[in-house]
């Protein structure tokens, strides 16, 4: 039967998948090892874990290999895998003061208790294309690592650092910390509804797409908003996690690498009645935390968290429903891609309407 125009889907799909495999591998280079991606594409792996909302470095690296380096596609694969895993435990609320830091800076104060640590940062390097990397040899790499480790001083015990924002809190210049809720809502178990609690909003952003969050946060920084952020503290490090087991015993389960940003912003205008009660103006805080080493994401999150606390939202970055319903990369990319699917029916229906109103117009002209 002559169904060529619409049929033949099955065979085409199979062939497309085969061709895809060929395009991933053509060129005779040895296949990428997942370990190479996991160790040397560190930031891409971190981005995928964060956007895929599953802390699994090996699986994230594997997904990156499968997706040929497309981080949105890789996060999508990881997110789908996550759906098949039951949620057995909820961790005990973790205190980021316990974080084993690899990097910690503050833009608010020159000196901070515990000191500033640049850590592994690209911030003050010149972005010159490094031609030496084109010919990196295994021997050379191993030698560098050996020698570097020899020079390192290893501390007996990892220090923990007080938080910069605690200094401001002690002086009453910053609002008090919100109370910790032992059973926070889980946006993967209960659909987000608006207005969303701050906890739910932070969850939604923590799995948001870096580029999407950045664009929205930048709109606020650029002038479509007026929160004027200062980075109180930016931390990157390993956060220990505990759970309560069946007997109610606290058990250490491991650590996750996270990036945390605390942004200090201008005070909300105090209400006259609050001022009368002696409430003085205070700075406000924007908070961001995500899996892996991803500073742009954590900062963007913190800026948006603060922007969304604006009492009378006027601009896009201040509108909670607007921000939270568009930052998920899996949702936005999936929907943008769905326009590639056939839309013959809806288009036929639109054609019918267009032809009809054109005919109406013609009839009206002829009638005149």
């Amino acid at each position: 039967m002559g169904y060529v125009a619409v049929k033949g889907g099955t065979q085409s799909i199979l062939e497309a998948a085969r061709l895809l495999r060929y395009f991933r591998l053509k060129g005779d280079a040895p296949p990428l090892e997942v370990r190479q991606i996991q160790e040397q594409m560190r930031l891409a792996v971190d981005k995928v874990m964060s956007e895929g909302s599953l802390y699994a470095p090996f699986y994230a690296a594997l997904a990156l290999k499968q997706a040929e380096g497309d981080t949105i596609e890789a996060s999508f694969i990881l997110r789908a895998y996550r759906s098949t895993r039951p949620r057995n435990y909820i961790s005990v609320p973790a205190d980021t003061r316990q974080m084993k830091i690899i990097r910690r800076i503050s833009a608010a104060f020159k000196d901070i208790p515990g000191g500033q640590f640049l850590g592994p940062s690209r911030d003050y390097t010149q972005r010159l294309l490094d031609f030496n990397l084109a010919e990196e040899e295994t021997e050379q790499v191993l030698k560098f690592c050996r020698e570097y480790l020899k020079e390192l001083e290893v501390l007996e015990e990892a220090p923990s650092f007080p938080k910069v924002v605690d200094l401001l809190r002690a002086e009453g210049l910053l609002a008090k910390e919100e109370e910790i809720r032992p059973q926070p809502p889980d946006i993967t178990r209960e659909a987000l509804s608006f207005p969303a609690s701050r906890t739910a909003a932070l969850q939604a952003m923590a799995r948001g797409e870096t580029g999407g969050l950045l664009a929205l946060a930048y709109s606020s920084m650029k002038g479509y908003g007026d929160i004027h952020p200062t980075i109180g503290e930016l931390r990157v490090g390993y956060l220990p996690l505990n759970i309560f087991d069946a007997k109610g015993q606290k058990v250490y389960v491991g650590q996750v690498l996270v990036t945390e940003a605390e942004v200090i912003a201008r005070p909300e205008a105090a209400k006259p009645e609050a001022a009368k009660r002696g409430n003085k103006p205070q700075f406000t805080l924007g908070y961001g935390l995500c899996f892996g080493h991803n500073e742009l994401k954590a900062i963007s999150m913190a800026v948006l968290d603060r922007a969304m606390q604006t009492k009378r939202p006027k601009l896009p970055a201040e509108d909670q429903e607007f921000v939270l319903s568009i930052v998920d990369g899996i949702e936005s990319s999936g929907f943008a891609a769905h326009y590639k699917l056939p839309h013959y029916i809806t288009f036929q229906s639109d054609l019918d309407r267009l032809r009809f109103i054109r005919r109406l117009g013609e009839e009206r002209e002829n009638g005149d």
């Binding site: 125009a5 619409v6 098949t84 993967t188 659909a191 608006f194 056939p342 029916i345």
Partner: protein, 301 residues
């Protein structure tokens, strides 16, 4: 017979129908609520699937939560069983459940569809699952979910009527093609998913259950059997379906089905063909049987 014999073959490493049992149960609970309040959008914790958001994940979660080992599944996209995404969705369900699938509308117990309702009337024993991109008709006039939920709660649909009225003022007629808003059981305005207007009357007082799933938007809604569903219309501007007058299907000659307009790449001619390919194939089968009977004569095979 052991219990394990009752469970069909499936893809190793995954639960029957991919989702874990708690998730399926939650979806079924939401479906029950949706059936109890026809046309009302029930929020649900939509899971990510190995199919992209916007590609039928809402419908798929409903289908995966409903099917049991004895179900027979049909999946169509644009009315066609062999359309690329229908193939992919069917493969996922078949791979993770091992259940039977079919192209024949009458044989299916569950039919998942995008953009069409089959031409053949469905029965009380069948469920039609529709994939939904935008679960709310009011999105046409109001982008905020918070506001549209309130409008539904208060049955405040005045802006929708004004929108339709202004459409007539601007163009002489309502210009909504597919996704034509309907009123369900005299209460909720509902988005029937992007089915053509041709399919809208099929929703009214139907024998079968209609379930609507929007995965990205995390909503489930339903129209139960024998429920009143009417398109929004003004008494002096009646609702119209697509006009195929004078056109027939190139293959089966049908004059009473939704037709695709197709350009023949060789001749450059425009032809029309049934969008519901199973309906078309069924008609062709009957026609050839009738022809055979004429040639051979009744009872002489």
């Amino acid at each position: 017979m052991a219990i394990k014999d009752l469970i069909p073959q499936k893809q190793a490493g995954y639960n029957f129908a991919f989702l874990d049992e708690h998730t399926k149960r939650e979806v079924r609970r939401k479906i029950l609520k949706a059936v109890a309040i026809p046309g009302y959008q029930v929020p649900f914790a939509s899971r990510e699937l190995p199919i992209a958001r916007g590609w039928g994940t809402g419908g798929l979660q409903i289908t995966l939560s409903l099917v049991g080992p004895d179900d027979v599944l049909k999946v169509i996209d644009q009315g066609c069983d062999d359309s690329v995404n229908a193939v992919s969705l069917r493969q996922l369900v078949a791979m993770t459940t091992g259940i039977k699938t079919t192209f024949e509308t009458g044989r299916a117990t569950v039919i998942q569809t995008r953009h069409r309702i089959p031409e053949e009337p469905l029965t009380e024993k069948q469920i039609l699952v529709l994939q939904v991109p935008y679960p709310d008709s009011l999105r046409l006039i109001e982008p905020s979910e918070q506001k549209t939920r309130q409008m539904h709660a208060e049955q405040d649909y005045s802006r929708m009527w004004v929108y339709l009225y202004e459409d007539i003022v601007n163009w002489g007629e309502i210009t909504i093609g597919a996704r034509y808003p309907v009123l369900v059981h005299g209460r909720y305005i509902m988005d029937p998913s992007p089915i053509p207007r041709w399919d809208v009357p099929k929703l009214n007082m139907a024998q079968n259950l209609y379930l609507f799933g929007a995965g990205r938007e995390k909503r489930i809604y339903a129209v139960g059997p024998y429920t009143q569903v009417v398109p929004l219309e003004f008494s002096d501007r009646p609702f119209q379906v697509e006009d195929f007058s004078g056109k027939t299907c190139f293959y089966c000659g049908s004059k009473d089905s939704f037709l695709d307009e197709i350009f023949n790449s060789k001749t450059g001619q425009k032809i029309y063909a049934c969008s519901d390919t199973a309906f078309c194939a069924q008609r062709l089968k009957i026609q050839s049987a009738v022809r055979e009977e004429k040639i051979v004569g009744p009872g002489k095979k």
